[in-house]
């Protein structure tokens, strides 16, 4: 078990998400940085879909009530377990009573704490992810609070420390300025409703991520991008990554807790292979959009799957080498 001691901001239990309940109006929820959650689970030998804790703000402190392996992936943090510093994207072993202290988050926007076996909250409608709107999944469908006890299926077996290179380094995109995140997008249904100059403005602008950005959506600030004539759509399904343009011309990127449908015009959609980059982009930093074709977006996904596959292979090989040495 894990006991939450102090929380800043809406930390929550998330797995990869709830993907087949759209017809009831239920969105995906799930980790904003699915790459980091997967990597943490791979480090621990878990199912990649095992639930972890998404931590968007620090300080954050918790206590392990028994021996268990855990990993920290995602944002770059200053963290200590029982007074020892934990490197980024690292698997460590906690003893019963150990205190995990996440002190600062100098890079990225969301940290993932995964434990051997996963956080054992009930599966609701096919997922353990917290669904804030409707209040179900995760721990009682709400953000974590001090005093919360989270059950874990963790085994007490001791496993060695192990780390992998953070995804932001391995999957770095070329020509990215500091404090700017470039994400690839596929144009969406109403793109042609914007004139050429406005389309050019959308591509060339550096969009500021406003403080009104969260798991629901990222509200961006920049030059007004407005269609030739106002567009009012009949409500239709949307998915995380869709970039809507409300009448004020300021884009909103739909994120994991977004509504499942909407009617504002859509200019583009962030591709799945880059959505985690948005999830790790900090408030106040800049985003830039790069147009990509559907086939290229599929290629980027394949590249992402290959990266995950590589992680899995590396972790397995290291475990095998260690087992050989110790036997």
């Amino acid at each position: 078990m894990i006991e939450i001691l102090s929380v800043t901001g809406p930390a929550s239990v998330q797995d990869l998400g709830r993907f087949d309940q759209y017809r009831f109006g239920i969105g995906t929820a799930g980790a904003m940085d699915d790459v980091a959650l997967r990597a943490g689970n791979i480090l621990l030998g878990n199912d990649e879909n095992a639930a972890g804790i998404e931590i968007p703000m620090v300080p954050f402190r918790l206590r392990f009530d028994r021996d268990m392996a855990f990993a920290l992936t995602g944002a770059g943090v200053e963290a200590e377990i029982d007074g020892r510093v934990i490197p980024p994207w690292w698997r460590s072993h906690a003893r019963a009573g150990d205190l995990l202290d996440i002190k600062a988050m100098p890079r990225g926007a969301r940290l993932y704490l995964t434990v051997g076996g996963g956080i054992d909250v009930p599966m609701v409608l096919g997922s353990r992810s917290t669904q804030f709107r409707g209040e179900f999944g995760g721990l009682h469908g709400r953000p974590l609070q001090p005093g919360d006890i989270l059950p874990c299926t963790a085994s007490a077996a001791t496993i060695g420390e192990l780390g992998v290179e953070p995804a932001e380094i391995t999957l770095a995109r070329p020509n990215t300025a500091a404090d700017e995140t470039i994400v690839r997008v596929v144009i969406a249904g109403e793109y042609d409703g914007f004139d050429a100059a406005t389309q050019a403005l959308f591509w060339s602008s550096s969009w500021k991520i406003t403080p009104q950005s969260n798991r629901y959506g990222y509200r961006l600030q920049g030059p007004a991008v407005k269609p030739r004539v106002p567009i009012e759509k009949r409500s239709h399904g949307i998915v995380p990554g869709v970039i809507q343009i409300p009448p004020n011309g300021q884009p909103i990127i739909q994120m994991r807790d977004a509504q499942t449908s909407g009617g504002y015009p859509k200019i583009a959609t962030v591709i799945r292979a880059d959505l985690w980059r948005v999830g790790q982009a900090r408030l106040g930093s800049k985003l830039r959009f790069e147009q990509t074709a559907y086939a290229e977006a599929l290629a980027a996904e394949a590249e992402m799957s290959a990266y995950i596959e590589r992680l899995r292979t590396i972790v397995r090989l290291i475990e095998e080498i260690r087992t050989c040495r110790s036997s």
Binding site: Q21, I187, G189, G237, Q259, S261, R272
Partner: protein
């Protein structure tokens, strides 16, 4: 008669595709969408077929390499779709119009050049059909609203609107099932449970069900 337009098909990244039917926002078109959804949900590679308002979103189990086949299947499916008549149940929902939750009642009246009483009686008159579920868990999009009380969505969506809000967005109306962000204008409030994840089917209503709003009171 004018030539009927062709459907619009567009991408939602690599995880979904949107099919928008040509023609009016009415029950006959929506019944064809229900029929197309029922067919498309059985196609290989499709995770879910989710009806919207005279449109349909297909989410992918695995994104198709080539989209041409899927686009052709949707176009053919639409042309072949006979209206699927779903015999739903009828729900009566008492509504408190206006008040704190329904604070946009006056602005809808002003925008439409009607009195508050007119807006209320026009809104409560029709038998609405649940066209689709979406937005948030258990939320129903209703068809059948009188176009006289149409009001465009908000310039900037609200970060939070109350659960049970009876709202107008464009030429559509609906009732929110829980509190959350909204780009619509709330004109009233109802207390009714639309969603419970422990139910065998988590949403209380389904496409084809009908709703009649009853004027409980009008708060000015």
């Amino acid at each position: 008669m004018t030539t009927p337009g062709r459907p619009r098909i567009s991408l939602l990244g690599t995880s979904a595709l949107l099919f928008e039917a040509p023609g009016a926002f009415d029950l006959p078109h929506q019944r064809r969408i229900w029929a197309l959804a029922a067919a498309a949900s059985r196609w290989p590679g499709i995770r879910e077929a989710i009806p919207g308002i005279t449109n349909l979103m297909l989410t992918f189990e695995t994104p198709p390499r080539e989209l041409d086949g899927l686009i052709a299947a949707l176009n053919d499916g639409w042309d072949a779709a006979e209206g699927l008549a779903i015999g739903g149940r009828e729900i009566r929902l008492p509504v408190n119009y206006g008040g704190e939750v329904g604070s946009s009642l006056q602005s809808v009246a002003d925008h439409c050049g009607l009195s508050v009483d007119d807006v209320v009686s026009i809104h409560a008159a029709p038998l609405y059909t649940v066209f689709a579920l979406g937005s948030h868990p258990g939320y129903c999009y209703l068809g059948g609203m009188d176009p006289r009380i149409t009001m465009p969505r908000r310039q900037i969506p609200l970060q939070r609107s109350a659960g049970g809000s009876v709202s107008i967005g464009g030429s559509q109306t609906g009732v929110s099932a829980s509190p959350g962000p909204s780009g619509w204008h709330a004109i009233g409030h109802t207390s009714w449970t639309f969603f419970d994840p422990s139910w065998p089917s988590p949403a209380a209503l389904a496409p084809g069900d009908t709703i009649r709003f009853e004027i409980k009171q009008v708060i000015r």
